[in-house]
Amino acid sequence: MDHIRNFCIIAHIDHGKSTLADRLIQRCGAVEDREFRDQILDSMDLERERGITIKANTVTLPYTARDGKTYELNLIDTPGHVDFSHEVRRSLMSCEGALLVVDASQGVEAQTVANLYLATEFGLTVVPVINKIDLPSAEVDRVMEEIDRDLGLDPFESIQVSAKMGTGIDDLLEAIVTKLPPPKGDPEAPLKALLFDAQYDSYRGAVLLVRLFDGKLKAPTRVRLMHSDAEHKVEEVGNQTLKRVPVPQLSAGEVGYVLAGMKSLAGLAIGDTLTEADRPAAEPVPGYREAKPVVFSSMYPMDTNDYEDLTKALEKLKLNDASLVYEKDSSAALGFGFRCGFLGLLHLDVVQERLEREYDLSLILSAPSVRYRIVLNNDKEVWIDNPTFYPDPAQIKEAYEPYIKAAIMTPERYLGAVMELCRERRGVETTYHFLAAGRMEVTSQLPLAEVLFDFYDRLKSITQGYGSFDYEMLDYRLGDMVKVDILVNGEKVDALSQLVHREFSRPRALRYTERLAKKIPRQQFKIAIQGAIGGQIIARSTINPFRKDVTAKCYGGDISRKRKLLEKQKEGKKKMKMVGNVEIPQSAFVSVLKTEDDDDDE
């Protein structure tokens, strides 16, 4: 076991985690230079574009160290976003050490701190890595000071690298071997393996990535998943280099893959423990927690004819994204669709983009919602994440909403604006403390619902891009929620209903009515757009009917052209959604439902 090192790289978005991983892989010769494609681990186009790792990947690297021995380095990649913190935890649990990457010009960020806390929580040995030292804006001294002050790590233990240029990579590999501890475990004890990730392979089905704590694993052992209580027969085990390389067996301390004839990822819970069916471990690996969706939204195909395609696409997506949950939904205005649950806003974004990009679908998503806990007058408790099912307010005794603990890092000069943003978003117990010179950390307890609504964009804008943000779920607290309906000529547009805090109901309703008024074309009749809570109207916009559209000349016998224009107009109408007798173009829904302000100046 002495020749094994299990480690991960943790970093704030954009601090160069993936490039660093690529460089390590390349240096260990796991890939030929000519087949090298930047950021191998970020295999989705989307990941490469956004510069974040959405789905963790893991790779085993052979490394011959300066002491002449060959080591097996298991690089366990972690997803780079708070939405996937559940998966991050599982990955960290599989490691003994972590490389904590800090950008030489950006310095320590909120996520860096959060990542360090996590790593320490799991007892990992942390080696700080200062990356991007080649940048003209690099301030290595300042960053070392931050590592000391903000992270409490020894800055002189840090390794300076430029992943882009390849500088310092040898020193880093050596540090992995010398500074990180080897795994411990008993190869003779009953099998105890942590399922820290799973991938979907279209030929082999589910590929389970496991870290063995005790015991041995080989085909054709019958294994049991201790939490989901399912049994499977192992068909193959091996090392995950860039390709899968079968090995006769995996042993305690090692990281590898398992194929067990499972057709999809459905039913697989990341964090579950694999053990031998005939000789089970006494206890599973501790710390198992179910990944629970916290953000909900309904998805409708732009063209109702695409419903079947959406159904198929979601089924496929679900094969390699076990955390995505969905069920059938329907809207009077938008037709059939799905109510989906996500781990967070980014997860929602990623799913939407993948559906649109990889499956060529155009979608309309309803306003994201959190899940509320409602206590009814009869003391029955219900969980509501869809405004459609919100109970009659007269029956509600108490309503509870989820809170998060947000950690925001910002340069000192934006402190006032950040505190104000937290206050606006109903933040409580908002406090701050100094990190390094000129840098502050603001912590605040915020309702998750308020963070869903363009919080991140606002933060970025008030801090001119310098602010960073991380959060964890906290608890449920009493809240004063109302359901705001949008009515078009007196008819409710179900897809636009949303649950909001009473304090924000009017501005939110105004925003919706105004945007709709801008996006619904004028028609023959006056259109009244209202925002209402129950029977009470709280916002109103009006679209006046058009007064003149008739073309002046219609003679000379060319009636065909005119009729074709009319047919085209009618064709356009077919694509609109009818609410009552008002035609609403899809673009109006899209515009109203997106949270950004970017089209407000139209």
Binding site: Q523, Q524, F525, P545, F546, R547, K548, D549, V550, T551, A552, K553, C554, Y555, G556, G557, D558, I559, S560, K562, R563, L566, E567, Q569, K570, K573, N581
Partner: protein, 372 residues
């Protein structure tokens, strides 16, 4: 007075050839009771040349006896007492004067060569020449034009006491000089509200003055002066169009549904086809009951008579009221249409002034599904 240019001579010869080719395939037995010289600048042809074309038509097609009603569109600069006399002698009974405006400024903007004073003088000349109907054609909606400016134009028109007035709102087509100017931001159509104001002003003013509208852009001093020819386009009476980009319509018969075809748009191509002995048809389309019903609807909503609902059902099988009862009720409520019975008890869907102003949108709002 006019030199017979080679190009014009060739054009007229081709047109005469086209008459013969088209007549050979024209099946409708009904005699032609109107002839319309329009679209472009037919008044640039000499009376003699117009006469050649008319003679060709008379020779190859069946004309109503004693003579069809002949219409001629004329540019003000081509109108003189002599020209008018010559046109009258050819049988022209309606002269449409493309006056456009009585304001020098507006005329310059429109790129016209005549002045406001000339426009008035020409109107007087034409009216003195003894045509049955003289129409003054105006354009409104020019940039910067106020309601008062436009009212003065209308006053100038009615002061001449023509039998007919046409008022077209300036529309900017992309592939014209105006289109290019619009693209560079030098020109724009009036905002919709101003268009609506001018449109309503036009209709009210002319109705009060004694020229009630019979269509969106057309006003006449009594039914006798309404354009008998244009009405045919609106009620699907067959017509034969000759010359570049002219459209024709043939009624349905036992062997074919109704059919509309149109000639090559560019004069060179049109001439080339004829030179090769071919009919210069660019394309055609067959019109089913649904197409014809859609056209009847969009055209009917442009006229003050409105849409003959029983006729629509009898001819095309569309029961418009039954298929659109809620819509009609709302439109009646909104004051855009009325449903009216004629003396024989036939029902008509008649647009009001505000309804006529939005006729395009109204036409698109109706469901024209045919019963299965």
């Amino acid at each position: 007075m006019r030199s017979a240019s080679a190009a014009r001579l060739r054009f007229v010869s081709r047109l005469v050839e086209e008459v013969a080719l088209a007549a050979a395939e024209w099946r409708d037995p009904r005699p032609f009771d109107t002839v319309y010289f329009g679209g472009g600048t037919p008044s640039q042809l000499s009376a003699e040349e117009l006469g050649r074309v008319l003679d060709a038509c008379r020779a190859h097609l069946t004309f109503e006896t004693p003579a069809p009603w002949v219409f001629l569109e004329a540019n003000p600069e081509d109108v003189t007492a002599e020209a008018c006399a010559a046109w009258r002698a050819l049988g022209v009974r309606t002269l449409s004067l493309g006056v456009q405006s009585f304001s020098d400024e507006t005329l310059r903007f429109l790129g016209r060569r005549h002045s406001g004073r000339q426009a008035r003088a020409v109107g007087e000349t034409a009216l003195a020449a003894g045509f049955d109907t003289v129409s003054i054609d105006l354009i409104f909606g020019v940039r910067g034009q106020t309601a008062d400016d436009w009212r003065r134009e209308l006053e100038a028109a009615v002061a001449l006491a023509p039998q007919h007035v046409s008022c077209y709102q300036l529309t900017i087509h992309p592939d014209t000089r105006f289109g290019v100017q619009a693209k560079h931001g030098q020109l724009s159509e009036l905002p919709e509200d101003d268009q609506a104001t001018l449109f309503e002003l036009t209709h009210r003013f002319l109705a009060d003055a004694g020229w009630p509208a019979y269509e969106v852009s057309n006003f006449a001093r009594g039914p006798a002066h309404q354009s008998r020819h244009n009405r045919k386009y609106w009620d699907h009476t067959p017509y034969l169009g000759l010359g570049p980009s002219a459209h024709s319509l043939a009624a349905a018969d036992a062997s074919s549904p109704a059919r509309r075809w149109w000639n090559e748009r560019g004069t060179p191509r049109w001439e080339k086809r004829l030179a090769a002995g071919e009919r210069p048809i660019e394309a055609q389309e067959l019109l089913g009951p649904k197409d014809l019903a859609a056209e009847a609807l969009l055209l009917g909503l442009r006229t003050t008579d409105g849409l003959d609902l029983d006729g629509l059902r009898a001819r095309y099988g569309v029961d418009l009221l039954a298929a659109n009862d809620t819509l009609v009720a709302r439109l009646v409520d909104e004051g855009h249409v009325v449903v009216r019975a004629d003396a024989e008890g036939g029902r008509w869907l008649v647009p009001t002034l505000s309804g006529m102003a939005v006729a395009d949108g109204l036409a698109a709002a109706f469901d024209l599904s045919l019963p299965n």
